[in-house]
C-alpha cells in the first residue's frame, strides 16, 4: 500500500505491506532508530512517539494507520542543535542509565507536560504507567519531569 506521512517535519512516501508495524517503518524505512522496541505488546512503552501530538505506542500500530499523519520521534525534539528542555532535564537529573527506555519516557513526558504543565509527583507517576524502566527506579525520571516542567513554565 502507498502511504505518505510526516516524521519530524520530513515527508516519507513508501509502498508498504499492510502488516508493517509503524515502529518498523520508523526504524527501517525512515532510518530513525531512536524509537526502540522492548516488547511488541504495548506494555513497555520504549516505542512511544507522538502521532498528531498525542503519545502512542508505535509497536502496535500499523504503518498504514499513520497515513497522512504527523509524527514526532525523539530525534525530532532537538532544535538547532540544542536539546529540548525535557531531554536536558533527563540529563541533569540522571533520569537514565542504560538509555533504552529513555526515548519512550521522554516522549511520554512530552505528552504528559502538554496535557498538564505542572503535574504533581503522583500525576507524573500515573502518566508514566505505560512506560517501563528497569534501571532507574523511576525517582530521577520523576525529578527530571518536574524539572522540565519548571524549565518550560
Amino acid at each position: 500500500m502507498e502511504i505518505t506521512l510526516t516524521i519530524n517535519d520530513r515527508t516519507f512516501k513508501a509502498d508498504v505491506e499492510p502488516r508493517l508495524l509503524l515502529v518498523h517503518f520508523i526504524r527501517e524505512n525512515a532510518c530513525l532508530t531512536g524509537t526502540h522496541i522492548g516488547c511488541e505488546t504495548t506494555t513497555c512503552g520504549a516505542c512511544t512517539i507522538l502521532l498528531d501530538g498525542k503519545a502512542v505506542k508505535s509497536c502496535t500500530l500499523l504503518a498504514v494507520q499513520a497515513r497522512g499523519k504527523r509524527l514526532t520521534t525523539v530525534e525530532g525534539l532537538m532544535k538547532n542543535g540544542r536539546l529540548h528542555p525535557i531531554q536536558e532535564a533527563f540529563w541533569e537529573e540522571h533520569g537514565l542509565q542504560c538509555g533504552y527506555c529513555t526515548p519512550g519516557m521522554i516522549m511520554a513526558a512530552y505528552h504528559l507536560l502538554q496535557e498538564n504543565p505542572n503535574p504533581s509527583d503522583e500525576q507524573i507517576r500515573r502518566g508514566l504507567e505505560g512506560n517501563l524502566c528497569r534501571c532507574t527506579g523511576y525517582q530521577n525520571i520523576v525529578k527530571a519531569i518536574q524539572s522540565a516542567a519548571a524549565k518550560l513554565a
Binding site: E17, R19, L20, H24, R27, C31, L32, T33, G34, T35, H36, I37, G38, C39, E40, T41, T43, C44, A46, T73, V74, E75, L77, M78, L83, Q87, E88, F90, W91, E92, H94, L96, Q97, C98, G99, Y100, C101, T102, P103, I106, D121, E122, I124, R125, R126, L128, E129, N131, L132, C133, R134, C135, T136, G137, Y138, Q139, N140, I141, V142
Partner: protein, 773 residues
C-alpha cells in the same frame, strides 16, 4: 591529586546521545545485505523430537536457508565456566537435536531477507514432538522416582556442595532456642529493557568474524565463541555497542552468539537476530530459584551462635556460564554483618525442565541477605525483642576489621553501626514503633522492617573466580594531549565513561572533556573481564589508576630530561611537571606528550610515546554495607501494601560520583521491591511459563514505587588505592528483606511469622482473614 571531579555529582558524558535517540544499540546497526534470523523454539518443556519438517519454510520467498540441529553438529557445546567438584555438565547444543528440555529451547534457525519473511518461515516449520513428563518442581526433581532431565545421568542432581565453618553442631547444642524456617527465593526474570541481540558478519577475505552483541562480557564471549566455532580467537571480534541493561542476564555466552557466527560463515552474509520479549522471558537466563530450610541457634539475648542452610537450587535444564556457582555465593555471605562463628550450608543443585538460572543482580547474595535478615527478625519475634536490638547484639563492631568470617572471607573494612544509627534517625524509628502500637488499636496494620546488610563486591581475586577477576586499562596521552582510556569493563548504564574520566582528569590535571573512555570492542580494547559483580569501578577504575601511575612515572623521566634536571627534582601537579625548587620552570602534560611522540630529544633508552597498559589484580573482595528501613501499612480489606517510608543509608566506600551511586541504589531497591512484592516466573505443572510477557509478569512501574530517602556513610576500602567498594547490587541485596520484614511485622497481630515472596495482595489478604490476637 587534585579533587576537582572526584566525589562530584558530574552529569554523565554518555547522556546527550542517549536522550536524543542517537545511540546505537545492536538493532540500530545497519549493514548492507543484512539478513534476519528467527528461531523455532520448543513449545514443550520436555519432549522427544520425532522429526522436523523445514521444506515448506525453505520454499517461502526470501528464505535463504533453514538450519536444524543436524546442520550445527560442528558447533561446540554452550559453555559452563564453573568447575565445582563432581559437577555433571550436560552437552548443551546451540540447536536441539532428538530432545528438547525447556519451553523456549531453540530447534530451528530460519534465515530470510527480511524480519517479516523470517518470521513467516519460522511459522511454516513443523516439529513433530513426543511429549515426555516434565520435571518442574525442584523437590520433585530431587525425588528418587523422578523423570530424568538428562538420560545420560542417573539422577537430576547436578552437584552437591557444602560449606562448613566452626562447629555448627556444638552451636546448636549450646542454643537456648533453635528457630527453623523454610524460605523460597522464587525465580525471577531479569527483563533488561533491551532484549538480547546479535549481528554476525564474516568477511571471507579478511577471515574475520565480527559479532555485535548485547553483552556484559565481550572478551570472554570472544574466547568462548572462538572455541565453539573452532576459530582463532584473534580472528573473532566482539563489539558490545550501547547495551540496554543486563543485570546479569547478559553476563553469559548463549547459543545464539556462536550460531549467528556460524550462519554468517556458511552463507557469507551478515545476519541479525533480535530477541523478542517472549524469547527473553523463556530463553534468557532467570535469577534466584532456591528453596531452602534455614535453622539458627540463638541465645535468649538474641545472640546467634550458628546458622544452617540446606537448599535445593533450581538450575534448569542446562548449565549456562555460571549457573552452578551462584548458590555458592549465598553460602559465602550467609553470616551477613554478624559475628556468627558457626555455619553450615548444603546445596543440592538439580536439573529441571526450565530455562537455566544464572546471575541476576546480586547473584546469590540477595538470597544470603534475605535469609539472615529474615532470621534476625524471627529471633526477635521468638524472644520478643526489638529487631534492631537483636542486630546490635550480633553486628561485627568497627574494631574487629579486617574481620574473618566463619565462611572463610575477610571483610575489608566496616562500621556497621554508623549507617544503622543514621537510618534509624532519618526514619525516626522509635516514633514509628509508637505509631504502630496506636494504629493497631484502631485496626490499622503498620509494620517496620530493617535490614543491616553487608555484601561482597569488586569480584574479585582471580583464584576465586572462574575466568580471572582482574581488570585492565590502557591510558594513552595522545600527541595533542587528549586522553584516551581503553577499559576492559563493559558498562551498560553504570556510567563509567564519566566516572573513569573523573578519575583520569583529576590524576592528570586535565579537563573532563579531554578524556575519552572507550570500551566494549575487542578489536580496540585489550583483553578485559567485563561488567558484573559490582566490579567495574572498584576493579576497572583501579586499573585506570594503575595505568596513569605508570604514565606519570614515565612522564617524570622525560620531564626531568627536558628540564635538564634529575628525576628527583621534578614534581607533577595540575597537569604540569615542574621543578620542586622553582615551580616557574615547568612543562605541561600536553607539551610533554607531544615531545614524547616527536621523539627528537629523549633520554637514552627511553621508549617514545606516552601510553601505559595496566592489569590490576585485586587482593581481596570489598564489602559494602548499610541499613535500609522500610515502613508499610497493609490494608485489611484488600491486602495491598502501601510503603509509608523508605530509607536507605549505604556505605560503598569512596564515592567517585554520587549521582551514579544514588542511581544504582534507586534502581536496585526497585528491583528488590519487584522481587519482594510482585515478580515471579510461574511455571505450571507441565513446565509452561505462564508469566511469559510483560502483560503477565509484573515489573514495578513508576506508580508502584515509593520516594526513597537516601543517605550514606563513607568507609574507604583498604583493598584498592582509591578506597572504592562498589554499589551496583547493593539495592537488590539490602532492600528485599527490609521490605518483607516490614510486611511480616505488620501482620504480627495475625500470628504471621513468615510469608514467602512475592507478597501479592491475595496472599496477604488470606493471612488477614484470621481473628487478631
Amino acid at each position: 591529586m587534585a579533587q576537582k571531579y572526584l566525589g562530584q555529582a558530574i552529569k554523565r558524558t554518555e547522556d546527550p546521545k542517549l536522550v536524543s535517540g542517537l545511540g546505537h544499540f545492536v538493532d540500530d546497526i545497519k549493514l548492507p545485505d543484512l539478513h534476519n534470523v528467527c528461531f523455532v523454539r520448543s513449545i514443550h518443556a520436555h519432549a522427544r523430537i520425532r522429526g522436523v519438517d523445514t521444506s515448506l519454510a525453505a520454499a517461502l520467498p526470501g528464505v535463504v536457508k533453514v538450519f536444524t540441529g543436524e546442520d550445527c553438529r560442528g558447533i561446540g557445546s554452550i559453555p559452563c565456566a564453573s568447575s565445582l567438584q563432581g559437577l555433571k555438565v550436560p552437552h548443551h547444543p546451540v540447536l536441539a537435536r532428538n530432545k528438547v528440555r525447556y519451553v523456549g529451547e531453540p530447534i530451528v534457525a530460519v534465515v530470510a531477507d527480511s524480519l517479516y519473511r523470517a518470521r513467516d518461515a519460522a511459522e511454516a516449520v513443523s516439529v513433530d514432538y513426543e511429549p515426555l513428563p516434565a520435571v518442574v518442581d525442584p523437590e520433585q526433581a530431587a525425588a528418587p522416582n523422578s523423570t530424568f532431565v538428562h538420560e545420560e545421568f542417573s539422577d537430576n542432581v547436578a552437584y552437591v556442595w557444602s560449606l562448613v565453618g566452626g562447629d555448627v553442631d556444638q552451636a546448636f547444642k549450646d542454643a537456648d532456642r533453635v528457630i527453623k524456617q523454610r524460605m523460597i527465593h522464587q525465580r525471577l526474570v531479569p527483563a533488561a529493557m533491551e532484549p538480547r541481540g546479535v549481528i554476525a558478519r564474516f568477511l571471507p577475505g579478511e577471515k574475520e568474524l565480527t559479532l555485535w552483541s548485547s553483552t556484559q562480557i565481550p572478551h570472554l564471549m570472544r574466547t568462548q565463541v572462538a572455541i565453539m566455532l573452532g576459530l582463532f580467537e584473534n580472528r573473532v571480534r566482539v563489539i558490545a555497542p550501547e547495551v540496554g541493561g543486563g543485570f546479569g542476564s547478559k553476563l553469559n555466552v548463549y547459543g545464539e552468539e556462536a550460531l549467528l557466527g556460524f550462519i554468517s560463515m556458511q552463507l557469507q552474509k551478515p545476519v541479525k537476530w533480535i530477541e523478542t520479549r517472549r524469547e527473553n522471558f523463556t530463553a534468557t537466563i532467570q535469577g534466584r530459584g532456591q528453596v531452602g530450610d534455614v535453622e539458627i541457634a540463638v541465645k535468649s539475648d538474641g545472640r546467634v551462635l550458628g546458622i544452617r542452610y540446606t537448599v535445593l537450587a533450581d538450575l534448569g535444564a542446562y548449565l549456562q556460564l555460571l549457573t552452578p556457582a551462584i548458590p555458592t555465593l549465598t553460602g559465602l555471605m550467609l553470616t551477613g554483618a554478624y559475628r556468627i562463628p558457626n555455619v553450615r550450608m548444603d546445596v543440592t543443585g538439580v536439573f529441571t525442565n526450565k530455562v537455566a538460572t544464572d546471575a541476576y543482580r546480586g547473584a546469590g547474595r540477595p538470597e544470603a541477605t534475605y535469609i539472615i535478615e529474615r532470621a534476625m527478625d524471627l529471633a526477635a519475634l521468638e524472644f520478643d525483642l526489638d529487631p534492631v536490638d537483636v542486630r546490635r547484639v550480633n553486628l561485627v563492631s568497627k574494631r574487629e576489621f579486617p574481620y574473618a568470617t566463619a565462611t572463610g572471607l575477610s571483610y575489608d573494612s566496616g562500621n556497621y553501626e554508623a549507617p544503622l544509627k543514621k537510618a534509624l534517625k532519618i526514619s525516626q524509628y522509635p516514633r514509628w514503633r509508637r505509631h504502630q502500637v496506636k494504629e493497631r488499636k484502631k485496626g490499622r496494620y503498620v509494620g517496620v522492617g530493617v535490614s543491616t546488610y553487608v555484601e561482597i563486591c569488586a569480584l574479585g581475586p582471580s583464584p576465586a573466580m572462574p575466568a580471572g577477576g582482574w581488570e585492565s586499562a590502557t591510558v594513552r596521552i595522545e600527541p595533542t594531549g587528549k586522553i584516551t582510556i581503553l577499559t576492559g569493563v563493559s558498562p551498560h548504564g553504570q556510567g563509567q565513561e564519566t566516572s573513569f574520566a573523573q578519575i583520569a582528569a583529576d590524576m592528570l590535571g586535565v579537563a573532563l572533556e579531554d578524556v575519552l573512555v572507550l570500551h566494549g570492542d575487542t578489536g580496540v580494547v585489550q583483553y578485559g573481564i567485563g561488567t558484573f559483580g559490582s566490579r567495574a569501578t572498584a576493579v576497572g577504575g583501579t586499573a585506570v589508576y594503575g595505568a596513569i601511575q605508570k604514565i606519570l612515572k614515565k612522564g617524570m623521566l622525560l620531564a626531568a630530561h627536558l628540564l635538564g634536571v634529575s628525576r628527583r627534582e621534578v614534581q607533577f601537579r595540575d597537569g604540569k611537571f615542574f621543578l620542586k625548587n622553582d615551580p616557574t620552570k615547568s612543562i605541561s602534560l600536553q607539551d610533554l606528550a607531544l615531545a614524547s611522540y616527536t621523539a627528537r630529544k629523549l633520554p637514552p633508552d627511553f621508549e617514545p610515546g606516552l601510553a601505559a597498559i595496566y592489569f590490576y589484580e585485586p587482593t581481596n573482595f570489598t564489602f559494602p554495607f548499610g541499613t535500609h528501613v522500610c515502613v508499610v501499612e497493609v490494608a485489611r480489606e484488600t491486602g495491598t501494601i502501601k510503603i509509608l517510608q523508605y530509607v536507605a543509608v549505604d556505605d560503598c566506600g569512596t564515592i567517585v560520583n554520587p549521582l551514579l551511586v544514588e542511581g544504582q541504589i534507586h534502581g536496585g531497591v526497585v528491583q528488590a521491591l519487584g522481587q519482594a512484592f510482585m515478580e515471579e516466573a510461574v511455571y505450571d505443572e507441565i513446565g509452561q511459563l505462564i508469566t511469559g510477557e510483560f502483560t503477565d509478569y509484573a515489573i514495578p512501574r513508576a506508580g508502584d514505587v515509593p520516594w526513597m530517602q537516601l543517605d550514606r556513610t563513607e568507609t574507604p576500602s583498604p583493598v584498592n588505592p582509591l578506597g572504592i567498594k562498589g554499589v551496583g547490587e547493593a539495592g537488590t541485596i539490602g532492600a528485599t528483606p527490609a521490605l518483607v520484614n516490614a510486611v511480616v511485622d505488620a501482620l504480627r497481630p495475625f500470628g504471621v511469622r513468615h510469608v514467602d515472596m512475592p507478597l501479592r495482595p491475595e496472599k496477604i489478604w488470606k493471612l488477614m482473614q484470621k481473628e487478631t490476637s
